[in-house]
Symmetry: C2
Subunit: 403 residues, 2 copies
């Protein structure tokens, strides 16, 4: 496999997909006022997705989930500024109308359309504004970035990329876009992601791919149980590259899945980097856990600990906080077998602290990217999660701004 990564890439790099966006009047606080966008493929698509497990769910999300899982969504409308959540039955009627308006505009069926919302909770969508604005949206190729901007809330920049994959003599494109900032977890900031591809993929396999790649990307920055009312990750495959449909048995299966994983891991890390008030990205890697669930839980628990996040902020090699957080996770821990590394420098071995030169480690931690690696020495499973520093700016931001 050869994968070509294009970080200026976008969802419209993939043939057959085009996008458009406009300003309807919802995202009044942002400089860049795109707040309503559509991405779609004029070719029919196979669709798959994972959605928030929050018991308070936006009707935009629940209606879209039903359509995506039917398997043939080929258009995703997005609005930012208002989450369309906590407004009773009006939210459902509005979501259905936006989907119908989009379907009419594109001359496709309602069940081929999804609608994602993000913004404040408890305010109804201004449907009069949306009806007018939706008609104004014009599609152009290479306009993926307008779509990326239309889903931003407190994001400081659009988050998108694309890759070209050569595998088994075939060539495919994959594009991805997402929004999401805040501290993600334990914060409830909404995470939205859309991936497009011209690879023809079997729907059952695609649903499997979306789940697996979420588990190694978005779910490692945002724990399922702590999702917002609107979190969604959707893949659309229009098969424009031609050739046989890729199934579980196809030789291309694994390469396609890994390439999609590369796209969404990049997007997930971009989200962490763009966390409110964040200036540093850190990775927590758990090695040799008993099983993958324990490895993931430990990595996520540590990466979302407020004390670890503030230690990163203060360049403090405070490994006691790593241990206390690890011990509170679901992972089995035998203290006498533990090794801990900061940027590959061993600071604890067999459960015993190594008297390290603190100033040198502090110097390492001044960097904008830090890795904590913990070897449990129990089993064979590993996992990584990502977090950002918790800064005074985060508190200021979330005290002053109604998200």
């Amino acid at each position: 496999m050869v994968v070509n990564f294009i970080n200026e890439g976008s969802v419209t790099d993939v043939q057959g997909f085009e996008a458009g966006a406009t300003y309807a009047g919802m995202k009044t606080y942002a400089k860049d006022k795109y707040d309503l966008g559509i991405i779609w493929s004029d070719l029919p698509c196979v669709s798959a997705g994972v959605f928030t497990t929050n018991k308070v769910i936006s009707p935009s999300t629940s209606v879209s989930r039903d359509n995506v899982l039917k398997g043939n969504v080929q258009a995703v409308t997005v609005n930012s500024g208002i989450a369309n959540a906590g407004v009773g039955n009006a939210g459902k009627l509005d979501a259905e109308e936006v989907i119908e308006l989009t379907a009419n505009k594109l001359n496709i069926k309602s069940e081929n359309v999804a609608f994602l919302s993000t913004g404040i909770i408890g305010v109804e969508l201004p449907m009069a504004l949306i009806r007018t604005a939706l008609q104004k949206i014009e599609f152009q190729p290479n306009s993926g970035q307008l779509y990326a901007k239309a889903m931003m809330t407190t994001d400081t920049k659009p988050k998108e990329c694309s890759v070209t994959v050569s595998t088994n003599g075939r060539e495919f494109k994959i594009g991805g876009v997402c929004k999401g900032t805040g501290m993600i977890h334990p914060n409830m900031a909404t995470m939205l992601a859309v991936v497009t591809t011209d690879a023809p993929i079997d729907q059952k396999l695609l649903q499997d791919i979306v789940k697996h790649t979420a588990d190694e990307s978005f779910n490692m920055i945002s724990v399922d149980g702590d999702m917002s009312t609107n979190d969604s990750y959707i893949i659309l495959s229009n098969g424009a590259a031609g050739g046989e449909i890729i199934t579980y048995e196809s030789p291309e299966h694994e390469d396609i899945q890994n390439s999609i994983k590369e796209v969404v891991q990049y997007l997930a890390k971009e989200m962490v980097r763009d966390g409110e008030g964040a200036t540093k990205l850190f990775q927590v890697t758990i090695e040799n856990a008993n099983n993958i669930e324990e490895a993931r839980d430990a990595a996520r628990t540590i990466s979302s600990s407020s004390l670890v996040k503030t230690a990163v902020h203060g360049n403090d090699p405070n490994w006691g906080r790593l241990l206390a957080s690890l011990g509170s996770s679901k992972a089995e821990v035998d203290e006498s077998k533990l090794s801990v590394y900061i940027n590959d420098i061993c600071i604890l071995e067999d459960g015993l602290p190594i008297p390290f030169f603190k100033d040198a480690i502090i110097q390492q931690m001044v960097d904008s990217e830090i890795t904590f690696r913990i070897n449990l020495n129990l089993g064979e499973s590993s996992a990584s999660a990502w977090g950002c520093n918790l800064s005074e700016e985060y508190v200021h931001f979330n005290s002053a701004y109604t998200t």
Copy 2:
């Protein structure tokens, strides 16, 4: 029952208990330098306790847990500044020596002594200093506050109280002391609490009481799964008040349990109020949940949400954050049945937002105590949890200080 609450009270208000404290040289950063203390009863005691479930546990805690659960601990030594955790086998040897030194000093058996530690992880106890200092500790009645100071780390003030209970023609005293600040949960700040009473209580009942009262106090500010390496809550009952031993069948059983609950709820709220950088206490009450586990989980999830904590800090009546956090808890939620109140003002009814006068609610939230009440209208179980605002000072504090 008549309960007389004394908030200047202490653990030595209870007859038969005396305390002493000194400075051994561990808590170098605090103004008030008591860092080693002992509380004990010269009468034999019945003991019970609950301890951290963290898989990385301080040997001070694990050795003490064994002694407390044997049921006859009558002395609790405490040190602050060093947690005696993350130091391999040396930690166990040191904990055992402190317990033995205490037993020798008091002329009791080692199994009658517990030892609690709190402070930084990864540093060995300075045993030479402790051996000398322990001998210097002198006991006086009414010296409970010295003991309270000896367990403080980043606490800004000692936390203690006592009550007098009249029930069924008998009179008992209960005293309590604790330490713990930080954000408690999700922070890993250690929580230590010791309760003394002259009521003669059956050991099995006492163990039940410690568990139940923890569930309605300390566990509602600090989730089990997120405890520190050293968290402990111990009750000592010396029976000095005389009379028949109180068992499950005794008429005094319920009153005693409720009085101990009152003591530890006061202490728990004091801890939240003294959170690092905290200026506000808020209570989250969940009403009419399906069952008590769901009610507790929902209350704790909301009270520990960073977004809710920052909203409280910014006086922002952002009920969308309450809903998103509630939906991510384990509680069943039917959005159409939900009511939400801020300080008894209804802002959401049957899942629909009430267009409230925002300035009036902001004014309510400026107060130093705020109540969020959520009625799920599903079952009959209720629970309350407590949290504090997340402030810029918290971040500053935890970035700059190795806890």
